[in-house]
């Protein structure tokens, strides 16, 4: 009450003065908000840009054209043509001979070693496979594209700075000269990298592929789905349709909500201590991985399924009961089919989360270096995100590209799953 009373004019002037400031604050506040949204999206765009620009190269691999002579003197000196002889022959020598034929002036051991390092170690296996498939190749000549080594591949893709001193480069001056020569005559080219999508893991970047991890993810995810969907739906039905409200169901509800927020690595500890330590299930197996991921995704599926059941109007239930259906018949024949699209949407989202999950799987040993593609749910295997983790840990520069390539494949799967969920929701969503 101490303030002097202002006249109407003075008040107007005061407001007019402050209104600029207030509008300016309004404008500023709004810009901050827009800025925050844009910042969030900028991070997203930048993340995708980094991954794609790094990873797109993984789908192409440098190959080298060689005139191979399947020399019987090297492969089958005894002339027996026996399968074992052909299998254990020194195909690296065949590759070496082909290279030396192309570069006739290369002399000495060091130079020869440098020359053979242009070609991937897998080229010999490639020739071996060709000969085993068709032994009549012996003694003939063939022009073949074989995988170049990782260092050549990096150079061709422009990841190697030629200005660096020789010791810090993967290729020596001499090797660079050969590469340029081969390139000029078209004997070095980037081709679609089929091996990346079809082969298992390898210590050599140029041979490493994701098929083993994809197969492991497939087994793990299918098993997770088979376990978690029926259990999740059954639990949701019980809680939503049958359970009376009492302390026991309260405990279950609180538990589900809390489990949804428990760090995933804790589920890994559970899997390690109980499934592997107590029940003696095999380590590194999709079976155990799927059991852990089931526990991890159950809360998501239960919560989504309950929401779907809640959305079914009570009139449907009353109509079914009125026609003499039992409670189970009412749920199974009427409520469940109507809630199914919502449940499936929730399940797909849960599966997408399970596909990207890696921390709990590290705990149960799905992190081993595994070359063989798994064939069943108890074979040791790894999954896509763990493969990403393993490769990102490798010191070779070539694996940066492979890691990003594997991430692109992983993201592609996730996009497909989430789009399916969205389409499902749009197509079957019913407003009552």
């Amino acid at each position: 009450m101490n303030k002097p009373r202002l006249s109407a004019k003075e008040t107007q002037a005061l407001v007019a003065r402050s209104i600029r400031r207030r509008y300016w604050a309004e404008h500023r506040f709004r810009t901050y908000g827009l800025g925050a949204v844009i910042a969030g999206m900028a991070f997203l765009v930048y993340l995708f840009f980094v991954i794609f620009s790094n990873g797109i190269g993984a789908f192409r691999q440098t190959e080298l054209r060689l005139d191979v002579f399947y020399d019987p003197a090297i492969i089958d000196p005894a002339g027996t043509r026996k399968l074992e002889e052909l299998q254990s022959a020194d195909y690296a020598a065949v590759v070496r001979a082909a290279l030396k034929e192309r570069f006739k002036d290369v002399e000495g051991r060091a130079a020869t070693r440098e020359l053979t390092h242009l070609v991937s170690g897998s080229a010999a296996f490639d020739l071996q496979r060709a000969v085993l498939r068709n032994p009549s190749l012996l003694g003939t000549r063939e022009t073949r594209w074989v995988l170049a080594s990782d260092a050549v591949d990096l150079t061709l893709k422009g990841h190697v700075d030629r200005a660096l001193p020789e010791a810090e480069r993967p290729l020596s001056d001499r090797q660079l000269g050969w590469v340029d020569e081969l390139r000029a005559e078209g004997a070095l080219a980037l081709k679609f990298n089929k091996g990346f999508l079809t082969s298992g893991d390898s210590r050599e970047p140029e041979n490493a592929g994701i098929w083993g991890a994809v197969a492991g993810s497939f087994f793990t995810l299918v098993l997770t789905l088979l376990l978690s969907f029926p259990i999740g739906v059954a639990a949701a039905i019980y809680l939503e349709e049958f359970a009376r409200k009492n302390r026991w169901t309260d405990i279950i509800e609180v538990n589900i909500n809390n489990l949804a927020a428990v760090p995933s690595i804790v589920f890994g500890l559970l899997g390690l201590a109980v499934f592997i330590g107590f029940f003696g299930l095999p380590r590194s197996a999709p079976l155990v991985g799927a059991m852990v991921l089931t526990l991890l995704t159950l809360p998501t599926i239960i919560i989504a399924s309950r929401a779907a059941l809640k959305a079914v109007p009570p009139s449907i239930r009353e109509a079914a009961l009125g026609m003499g259906a039992s409670k189970i018949q009412m749920v199974m024949h009427h409520v469940l089919p109507l809630a199914m699209p919502g449940m499936l949407t929730g399940t797909i989202i849960g599966m997408a989360r399970a596909l990207g999950e890696s921390a709990p799987l590290l705990m149960i040993g799905m992190v081993a270096f595994i070359v063989d593609v798994p064939k069943g749910i108890t074979d040791p295997s790894t999954v896509l995100p763990v493969q990403v983790y393993l490769w990102s840990d490798s010191p070779e520069r070539g694996f940066v590209e492979k890691t990003s390539g594997a991430i692109i494949v992983l993201l592609a799967f996730l996009v497909v799953m989430n789009t399916t969920a969205v389409i499902l929701r749009k197509r079957f969503e019913r407003r009552w």
Partner: protein, 462 residues
């Protein structure tokens, strides 16, 4: 039969049981025309038979498989030469591991010695016998129960009620799995943690200032006792989470405000899902992104202004984790802001407040408890996040508050202690479970608190 084949056979038998039960009930009343004389639908009689066939057999199979391995190993151990049998417990378990690996075909037969090969052969033989016995048992059991149930079917039998009771119990069983998971987590993690605390005092663990879990192999080696003071890990976790929240809370909150209050509905419909994509990206991708791009970039910037930034700095990991958490904060805050009744806003407008004044002084104040709850959930997420810190944060326990240095976190240490070659029963392995227990309890407390706050808030406006 292998377990998979046995399960398949059981499934086929159950289908057969269904048809037997169904046709039996129909035959009793003279075909479909007499169906009104049956108490339940014919399919209920079929279902009852199938459930009787499948459920007991399934239980037997699961129990058998759970204990088969342990019993066979026991028997195989008795067949090992005396010299091997008398080995200390952990060496014996290594030998048995070889046996198992050989049986599974993980190692070539040439790489192990004679006694292991003999034991593996014995194991394979025993397993064959066990599988045969199980198959015979299951066959006898299922066919027996099918015939028994078939003989008990009468038109008056209340098949539907019986089936429904069983189904309801199955539903109850499924819903309790969540409770059993929690019990399993607490029991297993706490059990191993207590074994750890029996060797390392709890107080040393909780308040010790240095962490170096490397245990020496021989007792007389230098630094032979590992140090298990977890304070540097807690501090590192707190530092990285703090950085993450400093990124995520302002950006998340401002975007939620903009999307809820200012944005055109069309902008909102595509901007909101796009922001949420950030939450759907696997964390391993963020980890790779942090290690590949952000870490080196920060280091480079630091060099240009003369700062020494570790390439695995807390800042890089925290920054990327913050990006990941933005959508958690923004979508929760968005929900809370949208839940504020329009009448409150209208009241503020009527008093002449601008929109930003309304938001700051009315809407945010009304939504504050909910927003705080959401932020607490985000904090619990940051503390438990694993892959980003495993890939982008350091390994060495460093007690520092400098965000430019490398620190390590609880989750990183759990992973490094448990991945790779493990010696069971060593404090090193058990320490991971003690850390896991702390992690579980802290996140649990945060979640319970946050969910409580959010629920209270929701009730207020409903």
């Amino acid at each position: 039969m292998t377990p998979a084949a046995l399960l398949l056979a059981l499934a086929l038998l159950s289908v057969g049981a269904f048809w037997i039960g169904k046709s039996r009930s129909l035959a009793l009343v003279g075909g479909t025309r007499g169906v009104r004389h049956l108490h339940s639908l014919p399919s209920h009689y079929g279902l009852m038979t199938a459930l009787w066939c499948a459920l007991p057999a399934l239980a037997v199979i699961l129990l058998w498989l759970a204990f088969q391995d342990a019993i066979i190993l026991r028997l195989v151990t008795d067949h090992l030469p005396a010299g091997v049998r008398d080995l200390p417990h952990n060496e014996l378990s290594l030998v048995l591991n070889d046996v198992r690996n050989l049986v599974a075909g993980n190692v070539p037969p040439g790489s192990v010695n004679e006694s292991v090969r003999a034991a593996a052969a014995e194991y394979t033989r025993m397993r064959g016998i066990s599988r045969m016995a199980l198959t015979v048992l299951i066959m006898v059991m299922t066919i027996g129960t099918i015939l028994w149930v078939r003989s008990r079917i009468t038109p008056q039998l209340r098949a539907r009620n019986r089936v429904e009771v069983v189904i309801e119990w199955l539903l109850i069983g499924c819903s309790t799995i969540a409770v059993f998971t929690t019990i399993g987590i607490v029991a297993s993690v706490a059990f191993e943690a207590f074994r750890f605390f029996s060797r390392i005092p709890v107080l040393d663990f909780l308040f010790g200032l240095s962490w170096s879990p490397q245990m020496a192999i021989r007792a007389d080696q230098v630094g032979s006792s590992g140090m298990f003071g977890a304070v540097p890990l807690f501090a590192g976790t707190a530092l990285i989470s703090l950085i993450a929240m400093l990124i995520a809370v302002p950006i998340g909150l401002y975007s939620a405000i903009y999307l809820a209050e200012y944005a055109h509905p069309r902008f909102r419909t595509w901007a909101k899902p796009l922001l949420e994509v950030l939450a759907g990206v696997p964390t391993v991708v963020y980890g790779f992104f942090a290690a590949l791009t952000i870490g080196p970039a920060l280091r480079g910037w630091g060099e240009t202004i003369g700062l020494n930034v570790a390439s695995e700095s807390a800042l890089a990991a925290g920054f990327v984790m913050g990006i990941m958490i933005i959508p958690f904060v923004s979508s929760l805050a968005d929900d809370m802001i949208s839940a504020v009744p329009q009448a409150l806003r209208d009241g503020a407008y009527a008093l002449g407040a601008t929109r930003s004044e309304t938001i700051k002084q009315v809407v945010l104040r009304a939504a504050l408890p909910g927003i705080v709850g959401g932020i607490l959930l985000a904090v619990s997420r940051a503390i438990g996040e694993t892959m980003i810190v495993v890939m982008a944060a350091g390994l060495a326990a460093n007690l520092t508050a400098n965000p430019l240095e490398a620190v390590t976190t609880v989750t990183v240490q759990i992973v490094t202690l448990l991945v790779g070659d493990q010696e069971f029963d060593s404090p090193k392995t058990l320490a991971a479970f003690a850390l896991g227990l702390v992690l579980f309890l802290v996140t649990l407390a945060l979640n319970v608190l946050a969910l409580h706050i959010v629920r209270k808030y929701r009730e207020q406006y409903e």
